[in-house]
Symmetry: C2
Subunit: 361 residues, 2 copies
């Protein structure tokens, strides 16, 4: 069964196609791709699995392929320059389409390349990881990392469409499946209590990769993301709640070196820290905190940061976060399950206690 959601952004609206077997849906690709020139960007892990099937849809067009090494360590300005050089060497014109086939790194890097090549060309997201399907492929945030901070160099550039083939999740390494579940759980926590409760009931089915459960998780996640993005494309308000756990998480990723902790793992530990701060502030009950930590743990995800990151290091790195205004760390906190806010209005001593991993009173 195929689902089509729409991200409502006026002239920049686009569909998200979700379903099993979509990579072989010639009619779908034909309906979306009009350009005579196509460049497919992928990585060394995904390309052997899916590149030929995707490329088959472009046999009647000029199709160039660039395969990069896998991993967050390659989401850099250098890789961006490499993509630009490749596209120029191949003489791709302004009417060309970039297809990002892979996970979040390929999607973010490919989207940024599409945003900047000749001041902007179209791109199509074909996410092959759970994390990319439920989060990074939707919403038009594109970026590369800088040694001083994650996603610090980027652009808002919406794709023309997203094609999420849930069959690709069957080949996903377990660790990446779990990492993707962090972002799935996030939607429940920040704005969708019924989905959180559904996840409590279906987490084992998701871990067992039952197709129907995975498809529903992707759909409900994308539905949440599409609603938030439609309401606040440029993140001046509600969209910032999608960053639950991310300010802590980015600090974990940076301190650990990009690629050692997966993004979803860092976000999972970060969400636990945000939940703990919310609980210390009295906004989340002990039982709600317990349910949050339990679901994240059942998803095989870390519930605490690496012990070697000091509170001072956390603060140093969190101050670099894009969400900051006026030097004070802005955080997404929970006000019960399924409700969240973006705030700087918390007791700094409570944040310090969380950063120091002090036992709760």
């Amino acid at each position: 069964m195929t689902t089509v959601l729409n991200v409502e952004l006026g002239e920049r609206s686009y569909p998200i196609h979700i379903g099993a077997g979509l990579l072989d849906d010639s009619a779908l690709f034909a309906s979306l791709v009009k350009s005579e020139q196509v460049v497919v960007l992928s990585n060394e892990v995904v390309a052997p699995l899916y590149l030929d099937r995707v490329r088959a849809h472009f046999s009647a067009r000029r199709c160039e392929v660039l395969v990069l090494p896998d991993g967050e360590a390659h989401k850099t300005l250098e890789s961006f320059g490499q993509v630009m050089g490749f596209m120029l060497e191949k003489r791709l014109e302004r009417g060309a389409l970039l297809v990002a086939l892979g996970g979040g790194v390929i999607g973010d890097l490919g989207g940024f390349a599409a945003a900047c090549y000749q001041r902007g060309i179209d791109f199509l997201q074909v996410p092959t990881t759970l994390l990319a399907q439920v989060d990074s492929s939707v919403g038009g945030k594109t970026a590369v990392n800088h040694p001083l901070g994650k996603n610090m160099i980027g652009a808002f550039h919406q794709p023309i469409a997203v094609i999420a083939d849930t069959d690709t999740l069957s080949t996903l390494p377990a660790r990446e499946l779990h990492a993707g579940l962090a972002e799935v759980i996030k939607y429940g926590l920040i704005r969708d209590l019924p989905f959180f409760e559904w996840l409590e009931r279906h987490i084992d089915a998701l871990l067992a990769r039952q197709p129907a459960a995975l498809a529903e998780a992707v759909q409900r996640s994308c539905q949440n993301k599409a609603e938030v993005v439609a309401a606040d494309e440029r993140e001046t308000g509600e969209r910032a709640t999608l960053n639950l756990g991310h300010t802590f998480g980015h600090a974990i990723e940076t301190a650990s070196g990009y690629g050692n902790w997966l993004h979803g793992e860092a976000v999972a530990a970060g969400m636990c820290m945000a939940a703990q701060l919310s609980a210390r502030a009295g906004w989340l009950s002990a039982a709600e905190l317990e349910r949050t930590l339990a679901l994240i743990a059942r998803a095989q995800l870390p519930v605490a940061p690496p012990p070697d990151i000091s509170a001072a290091t956390f603060r140093e790195l969190m101050l670099h976060d894009k969400k900051n205004i006026g030097g004070r760390i802005r955080l997404v906190l929970l006000q019960g399950l399924g409700k969240s806010c973006v705030t700087r209005d918390y007791d700094d001593a409570l944040l310090e206690a969380v950063l120091r991993r002090e036992p709760a009173a």
Copy 2:
């Protein structure tokens, strides 16, 4: 006397302030700059002349300054990375303002940096060259060069305002003044016959840097640019006529190595080539071609490309141009003085004759 023009782009509308002495207009800067954090980007030639006067307006704010080497050779992805690193080291937040103080290189590079830093921050254009005041500071095109083509990596990102102090033109090297006049003449050629005729009468006054003549040239140029940009921000139609001479010109710049020919010099020679092709096609009379070449020559600008660029090299480089569709070189041609079109509908043999510098029949 100060003139204020407005670039009408809905939510992205902004004013262009033109006048003598604006760099010292504290009230103007105060009215435009609300950010607590300011980063001024300038170069080694402009900074000693004007940086202190501009920085004085930000004494009550945090103000960081980055001074780059001068010249087109520094409009690169490497310089872009350097600006990003600087801003991250200084912990500039998303609410920061980037002020681009300098010529076209600083404006284009600074604008692109502002477009991408944390996915976009505000920027203010303070152009100090004639070329930047009449062309590159207005319209939101930002970019850096790639060895395979000029302005190939960039974004559309409109400034919050443009402050053009015509007094700065008094310190401009003569060669740069002339280069700026190429873009001024362009507006007359493509869409404003009365302005072309005004330029025929006032070119000597402009070369003598008479302030009233310079101010009028800047105003009438910006008025033309603002109208074109308002009608076609993303260059899907009329805006492409602003590229008169640029496809030839970019090839000259690339073939000569960035920085050996100034952009305006290359555009001047390119406009002469476009006019010659237009004349060969019968769209421009011999007398109109003569007036075009004569005005460009009187502005102390080249009327022909360097002799060592072969027709084959021209074609090779022109095929890389962003304006191409379907492998055929799209050009801006003249249909009389003050009228232009963007077309691929010309006899290729006539283009070849122009590229080979064959004498007109």
